[in-house]
Structures are given as C-alpha cells and as structure tokens.
C-alpha cells in the first residue's frame, strides 16, 4: 500500500491523516469545541492552518470563523493541539495521544492550574455543575458506604452533610475562564488563567446593533449587551484571551485585544519563541526571554570568557 494522505471535512469534525505502512498520524479538529479563535493558526510553525471569517447575512447572528488545515503543509507536530485553549484539536500517532514535541521538550506543556476542593462544593448538583459555561465540571455524590446519590436535594439536611463529594474537572478542554471560582463558594475552585492579556471594547466605535463578538464568544459572561446603550461591553475578569471576538469584529478600532502571557512549563525552544511572539508580541517575548534568560546569559558569558582564557593559556 503506498503512503496515503487523507482529509475528511464534515459538519462535526475536520480530520487529517498520514497512513504509512508502519505508522499512522492523525489530526482531529472537533468543530463543536472550536471557537474559531486563531490561536492554532498563529502558532502553527508550518503556516498550515487558515482561519476564514464566514459571511454574515444581514440580521443574522455572526458565526465563528472556520478553520481549515492544509494537508500538504501539516507535519502532525501537535503544536495546535497543545495550544488550543478549548482542547478542540487532538493529534495522535498510532491512536496514542503522545506528542513528540512535548517529549523532546521542543514545545512547552500548557499549564492549566485548576484545583477543585470537593469539600467546599455545595451539596447541589445543579448549583455545582451549571456554573461552568463549558459544562466541564462533574460532581459525584455518594453515601458513606459508597452508594451513589443522584439527587442530594431529595435528602434531609443531616443525610446531605454526611455525603461524600467527588469533583471531576475535564481539564483538557478547560480554557480557564475562572467563572466557577467566582460563582462557587469560596475556595471550592481555584483557577489560574492559561492566557493573560487585555481586552477592551470602545462602544462608541461599534457599528449600530452589532453583536458579532458576543455571538461568537464561547464563554457566557465575558461579553454582555448593555440595556443602557444597546452595545456590547466586556467583563474582562472571565476572558480567556482566545481572540475569537477579534477575528469577527468588523471594525478594527472597536475592539482592542492582545495577549501578553501564556502559562506554560519552562522550555528552551525556537519553535516556542516563535509561537509566543506571534501569539503575544515581540515585547512580551523579550520579557519572557529576559526572565528565563538571566541565568542562561550569565552561563554563556562565563563560557565565552572561559574559552578566551583557555586560548590565552
């Protein structure tokens, strides 16, 4: 069987595949999870990913941008998979989700700093699970003898207090908006942002009745339509800085958006530096390089002086 490259594009998913006799590489994009945010397209080292803004008919809601991946350029490195804040992309080799770029430290692991303290959770399924706009929190109640309890509300107060609570957070798909932390009782959830940045809407520049950014934002609560001026305003506290809003915004000055930092494991990699520069800005890259570089710089200076000394000797 000759080497084959396959591409499938359905309403639900986009999949790319390399089929070799001894190996199989697959990239899967879950279109339901994808926000059309552009992060993958910016970070892709082979510039294989293209974001296409969809045409919007008058009076209709804006749709999130469409992602297309060029099979002839993709090398299945998995950088898009690592960076996607929504975990919409998955790259597998022979069905296993093991990425060589992480293994060889060619790319950092994103840090999703999410901690759930089950004991602080309310004894109410709806109040616990429904706070997450992405439906990623699952709470399991059980009696002391391990019997699962479906509806704690049906129990009396003392029975409820004796219940054991287990919280399961689907971290892989969590963009770290922090809404759960704000809405749940104090200390129940701890969430640190995956991406940091700045988002501001200058309402006076917004076209009349435009709600495009609000239409595409996957996190309920970041953007809202004000009753006073019928314009969209932002609550930056919960923004994950994915940038899906910026992609669809029809007026350049109306929405100012930038990312400044990505929470990641330390790594020394040209590919990461390039991705970071494109995701944030050259200034932010310099900041990071300086922060981790001071030690390295000292080392390299020492090395150079050392070499010179040897030459003199």
């Amino acid at each position: 069987m000759p080497f084959q490259t396959l591409k499938k594009d359905t309403a639900q998913e986009l999949s790319l595949e390399w089929v070799l006799h001894i190996k199989n590489y697959k990239l899967n994009l879950d279109k339901n999870r994808c926000a059309g945010c552009q992060i993958c397209s910016l970070a892709c080292p082979k510039e294989a990913i293209r974001i296409e803004k969809r045409h919007k008919a008058q009076g209709e809601k804006a749709q999130k941008a469409k992602v297309d991946i060029d099979l002839s350029k993709c090398n299945f490195c998995g950088i898009c998979d690592i960076l996607c804040p929504y975990g919409a992309i998955s790259v597998t080799v022979d069905g296993k989700h093991l990425l060589s770029v992480l293994d060889k430290e060619s790319f950092p692991q994103m840090i999703r700093d999410i901690k759930a303290t089950a004991s602080k959770f309310p004894m109410d399924r709806d109040k616990s699970e429904d706070v997450c706009p992405m439906e990623l929190i699952k709470v399991h109640f059980s009696t002391a003898d391990g019997k699962p309890v479906e509806d704690p509300g049906s129990l009396n107060e003392s029975e409820r207090r004796a219940l054991k609570v287990d919280v399961e957070v689907d971290k892989e798909h969590c963009p770290c908006c922090g809404i759960c932390e704000a809405k749940l009782p104090q200390s129940a959830m701890h969430v640190r942002k995956l991406l940091s940045g700045k988002l501001a809407i200058k309402s006076e520049k917004c076209p009349p009745e435009c709600t495009d950014c609000l239409d595409v934002c996957p996190i309920n609560g970041v953007l809202y339509l004000s009753d006073d001026d019928k314009k969209v305003h932002a609550n930056e506290m919960f923004c994950v800085y994915c940038g899906a809003c910026k992609v669809v915004c029809p007026v350049d000055e109306a929405l100012s958006f930038k990312r400044t930092r990505v929470n990641h494991t330390p790594v020394r990699s040209g590919a990461w530096n390039k991705a970071l520069e494109r995701l944030t800005s050259p200034t932010d890259l310099t900041k990071e390089l300086k922060a981790k570089g001071s030690l390295k710089t000292r080392e390299s200076v020492k090395k150079r002086i050392g070499l010179k000394g040897e030459q003199h000797a």
Partner: protein
C-alpha cells in the same frame, strides 16, 4: 564524426567547366589515384569492377586506377601507400563502402604515404550501388561510375587541411552516484584523474543501496555496495557534490564548464560527524523516501545508515525550528539554519552521465488495485519490507492487519511490455521477482505459498537460468498468463486478494493470495529530459538517453566528451551497469589521458568581412557552436570549433555567403553536382 552537408544550390556561380579541365594537360592538374574495392563479393558480384576501373582511368586528372580486394586490409593499405608514392599521386579516391565506417582508416593510410589526410575522398559504391541494385547489375555499374565520377570531381578540388587541437582539462564529472556512477568514478580516480561526482539526493548509492539482496547470488546488496560508496567518499581524487543540481553545461570536449547548485542541507558538512545526536533530539518525523514511504525519518537525519557522505540534512518542509538539534550538536556547531543555495562552477574535460532510472507508479493501472487494496505492494516496497534494516525490521506484514501473509502472488510486467504504457521490457523484474520468490520460499518453506504470474521468464545472463531452476525446485508456483485481461480483486472482509488471468489457451486461471507484489515498470529518471537539454544530448522515444551507436559505441553520446553508463541509457541490471560504468570510464580516459583532443578540421569558417552579424546562423546552429560577438564596432559570427559538428546548416542559411565549410565549399559541391548530371546531359 558525422559528415556530409546539404547545400541549396541556386544558380551555380561561374567557374571552370568540367570540359575545360579535361582539355588541360594532365601533368599540370592534380594527380588522382582511384582504388576500386571488390569487397569480397559484396561489390564485385553486382558491379562490374573491371569496367568501373577502366572507366575511372578515363576521367580527367586520374593518373592511376586499379581494383583490389579489401583495400581496407593491412595488405590493401600497404599497396595504396606504395602506389601513391610510386605514381606521385596527390589525391586518392577509394570506391568502396561507407565513409562513416572507413574514412578514418583510409585517411590514416594516405597520411602514411605522406599525403594530407583531407586529400582523400570516398565513393560509396556498396551501399549506393551494389547493395541497393542487386537485381540490376548493369544499372548498378552505371551508378557506381556516376558515384566515382562525382568523387573524382570533388577530389580534384580538395584542399589540404590541418587538424584542430583542443586543450584538455584533466578532470572529469560523473553525474549520478548510483552503482554505474560509482564504478566510473572509482576507475577514473584510480587512473589518476580528478573526479567530481554530482548527486541529486543526499547520498550516493542509488537504487542498489535500497535493495535487500542481489540476484542470482543473494548477496546482501548494501554489503557489496557500501564499501564502494565509502571508497568514493574517501578517495583523494573524488569530490562528492551531493544534494546538488546540474544547472548548465557550456563548452566542448576537453573543456566543459559546468554550473552546479549545491542545495542547502542546513548542516555544515565539514563539521558534521554523522553521530546522529541531532536526530535523536528532533521531535518531527516525515515519510522516508528511502523506505518507499513505508516508514519515517526525522526532520534532521540521513536517509539510511550507510549514507555517503554521512552528513545530516534538515528538511525545512517539516522542521519546526525548535533548535533542539542545535543544542544537541553543541560545540561541533554543524547546524546552520542560514545556509543558502550555493552555485559553483567546475571545469572538466569529460562528463559521464549515470543518472539511472525511476519507478512507474501503478496507481493509474486500475486493474492492479494498487492504492485501493491495502495488501497490494510494489516490488520496491516489498524490498524494504524484507530488508532487516527496513521500516518493519525485516518482517513481512500486511497493511490491513499487520499479519504475516500465508500466500504471496507476484505479478510481472505491470506497465512494461504494454504498448499503451511502456512498450519496452524493464529487463530486471523477472530476476528480482525470482529473488523475492526464492527468499520467501526458502525462509518459510511450506508455511507460505508463492505464485508468480508471468508472461515470459527472461533469465538470459550468467547464472540466471540456474536461478530460475532453483526457484522452480523451491516450490514456487509459476502461472503463465497473457498480459491482457489480468485483474485483481479484494475480499472486503479478509482483505485477501484474488489474481485473475488467462492462460495461453485463453482459459481463465486464478489464485487467492494474502499479499500481491507488482513488478512495476522501471521508467526514465525524472531528471532525464531536463539534463538532456542541459547537455544537448538526445533522448530516445522511450525517454532514455540515446547512445551514439548501439552496437559498437554504446557508451558514447552524439556529443564528444559526454558518455553514458547504467540504466539511464537503457534498463539494465547491476552487473551490466557496473561493466558499463567502467566502460564509460575508459572512454572518458581516452579523452583525458591526452594533452590535447584532435578535432577534424571540417568546421565552419566565417569570412568576417562578409558577415553582417545578422545572427541567422547563430539561431540555426543546433549545437550552440556559433556566437555573434562584437569585433571593434562590427558584430561578427564566431565559431566555437570544439562544438561545431560540421553539419553546414550555418553555411547554407547564411544570406551573405560568409560561412564556408572546408572541403564542402560551394565550388566543390557544385562540381560534384555537375559531374552527377554530366552523363544525363550527354544523353539528351
């Protein structure tokens, strides 16, 4: 050296009429001797050679004529030498066979008689008279007389010429580093010549380096080629220029100027030790061509372990530039992401072309199911499967389930011997299929059923027929089928395949197999047509380079100083390619070993005063031998003598009559034409 010229003769210029010449006293004109050859019975049985000789004696300026058997023999030549001296002849005409074959012989013969070799003329009375008019001897004799008369008419006007000596650069280029090129390069280098070996890919070795075993001895292929590759890499006289393309070739025999582009490897060859630490650090993989894309290699890697030169290459199409390789390489500092393509120019005296072949992709032969049925492989894919160093570690496994097949069917002539695809026979498929079949059968014995669907079994060199017998004895089942109406079907559940065909009686035959291997046609190298243009050497109808003469000059091209070897001239197996590589090396050494290369002086001459610099000749010349250059404030055509082949097209196309061909001048040709017409004019 091709000769002969065609001239459009409009109105002949005024010159002496033949009649006038006849009237002149014989002693004052040239003294011509005519030697008529009997050529055993080839000529004498048809043409009346005595009558012809007598007739020759009557021709003006002919002071001597005789007929003899085989003037080309040593005895005959000696007789000519003696006769020329004795009769003080100053022009010699031999009426015999083709000048293409024998002119050089007689030129050297007359020069032994202290006569300028260009005062010799040949009349072809064999091909022109006796061979083509066998049933009409009288007419044949008359035609022979005409031919001789024409030759004498020209001989009368022949001018002595001096051969042209061209300096020779004692270096040689071998284009293509397969087994033929390797042998040519090693032979030339051992003879003491500097050799540049230009290879398109990252490593030399060619297809042979990718094979598991070689037929009929079943030696490990890389074990015999590997040491030779290393020898090439280490030889002080050989410089490998790999990962490079030939862009332009200028000049002529002894003096070629070759422009080469070295493509960037992003690795500094001098610093790379081939240790492979960069490869281990690299996170990116891509399909490996050397494994026929069955397996992968790293974005920084070598295609296979025995690669020469052992320099890693970064494939920037896949590299993500994490620079982990730079870290791994460390103080060796062999990696340079800023490398740019580099153009270099090399001067050589001769070029040996050994670019090999390509493989036909049988996807467009729908009946094979290749590309649709997962367990259908090409022979080279199968080769990589059985190779211990291959992507599966030598395990033969099906693509559909990763299991070892219990039956394998080999299909011969896929694309080749098919007038709709490739009419020729691919020459080595029968033998490599026997090799694969024997290897399977001798390894797995009863545990595997092996079928070979063939049409003709071609096993015609040393030890090959014996190998066919060995295959038959080992239990391989040979099924002879017609090339038409073959097809393969797949069981959608088991993914097993069934091969259908028709035997000689037109009766259907079929066999089920768990794996099918196609002997797909070998085709001309992708680079052949481009290189043919660059070198100005012809490609045949089949797409392979054309040799100068298929029997006696199989390694020469039409262009002096450019030689062919290996499969680029026509498909051939390893022993034959090796032999031809050495043959081409010997041919190239004939050029290189001399201080200068002698060219026949039959090259165009430009009268610069008449030349208007109109460039008609420049564009007419098929050999790029004429360039119009500025001389003072005038543009004139200049002939590159080393490139000119004496075809005369410049001379006939020149509107100013400024270009002449020595010994093919208007006067000489018109004299021949008038001689040809003489008899008819008299009759009417």
């Amino acid at each position: 050296m091709p000769r002969g010229t065609r001239k459009n003769v409009g109105t002949p210029r005024k010159e002496r009429k033949p009649g006038q010449k006849k009237a002149g006293p014989k002693a004052e004109g040239p003294r011509i001797g005519v030697f008529v050859c009997q050529c055993g019975s080839n000529i004498a049985s048809i043409v009346d050679v005595d009558a012809l000789t007598k007739y020759a004696q009557t021709l003006p300026n002919v002071v001597y004529a005789e007929n003899m058997n085989y003037p080309c023999s040593r005895q005959g030549q000696d007789e000519i030498v003696v006769t020329v001296k004795k009769n003080k002849l100053d022009r010699v005409v031999v009426a015999g066979c083709s000048p293409r074959l024998y002119e050089p012989t007689f030129q050297s013969c007359v020069s032994r008689a202290e006569l300028n070799p260009w005062l010799f003329e040949m009349a072809n009375i064999r091909e022109f008279a006796s061979y083509c008019h066998q049933t009409t001897p009288e007419e044949a004799t008359e035609k022979a007389k005409d031919t001789v008369r024409m030759a004498v008419a020209k001989a009368r006007l022949l001018q002595p010429l001096k051969p042209i000596e061209l300096p020779v650069t004692k270096k040689v280029m071998v284009i293509g580093g397969g087994i033929a090129g390797i042998n040519a390069a090693l032979d030339l280098a051992d003879m003491g010549f500097k050799v540049y070996m230009v290879e398109k890919t990252e490593t030399i070795g060619g297809y042979m380096a990718l094979l598991d075993k070689t037929f009929p001895t079943l030696d490990c292929s890389i074990c015999i080629e590997g040491p030779k590759m290393v020898d090439v890499g280490r030889h002080p006289n050989i410089e490998i220029i790999s990962y490079a393309d030939v862009l332009k070739v200028e000049g002529y025999v002894g003096n070629f100027k070759v422009k080469i582009r070295k493509n960037p490897r992003y690795v500094i060859a001098a610093n790379c030790t081939g240790c492979g630490e960069c490869r281990d650090a690299c996170p990116i993989e891509y399909p490996n061509y050397a494994d026929m894309y069955l397996g992968v290699r790293k974005a920084i890697s070598i295609p296979f372990d025995q690669a020469v030169p052992l320099t890693h290459t970064i494939n920037r199409d896949y590299c993500i530039e994490c620079y982990k390789c730079v870290d791994a390489c460390g103080a060796r500092e062999a990696i340079n992401f800023d490398q740019k393509p580099e153009e270099i120019e090399v001067n050589v005296g001769a070029i040996v072309v050994t670019i090999g072949y390509g493989m036909y992709d049988p996807k467009d032969l729908a009946w094979t199911g290749y590309g649709r049925f997962s367990n259908v492989f090409t022979a080279l894919e199968f080769e990589r499967l059985i190779l211990a160093a291959g992507p599966t570690g030598g395990k033969i496994i099906r693509a559909s389930d990763g299991q070892k097949p219990h039956s394998v069917a080999f299909i011969q002539c896929v694309g080749s011997r098919d007038i709709n695809k490739f009419e020729y026979c691919s020459s080595f498929c029968c033998m490599y299929t026997l090799k694969h079949a024997v290897m399977l059968k001798e390894k797995y014995r009863e545990a595997i059923e092996v079928y070979v669907f063939y049409n003709d079994m071609r096993s015609n060199f040393k030890g090959y027929e014996e190998f066919f017998n060995r295959a038959q004895k080992s239990g391989v089942k040979f099924v002879r089928v017609k090339l038409e109406n073959r097809r393969i079907t797949e069981d959608p559940q088991t993914k097993n395949l069934t091969v259908f065909g028709e035997n000689e009686d037109g009766k259907p035959v079929s066999a089920e197999a768990e794996m099918v291997v196609l002997a797909n046609a070998a085709i001309p190298s992708q680079a052949a047509s481009e290189l043919a243009k660059i070198l100005n050497i012809p490609l045949g109808k089949d797409g392979f380079f054309v040799e100068c003469q298929p029997k006696i000059r199989p390694t020469d091209t039409e262009v002096p100083g450019i030689f062919l070897a290996g499969a680029c001239q026509g498909l051939k197996d390893i022993p034959y390619s090796v032999a031809q590589g050495s043959a081409a090396a010997a041919q190239a050494a004939c050029v290189l070993s001399k201080g200068s290369w002698t060219v026949e002086p039959l090259v165009a001459k430009v009268n610069e005063e008449l030349c208007s610099g109109c460039r008609v000749c420049e564009s007419a010349c098929g050999y790029h031998a004429i360039n119009v250059e500025k001389v003072g404030d005038k543009s004139v055509a200049k002939v590159v003598e080393g490139l000119c082949r004496g075809c005369g097209i410049c001379s006939s196309s020149c509107p100013m009559d400024a270009v002449t061909m020595p010994n093919y001048s208007d006067i000489q040709i018109v004299a021949q034409i008038q001689a040809a017409m003489e008899r008819k004019l008299k009759k009417t």
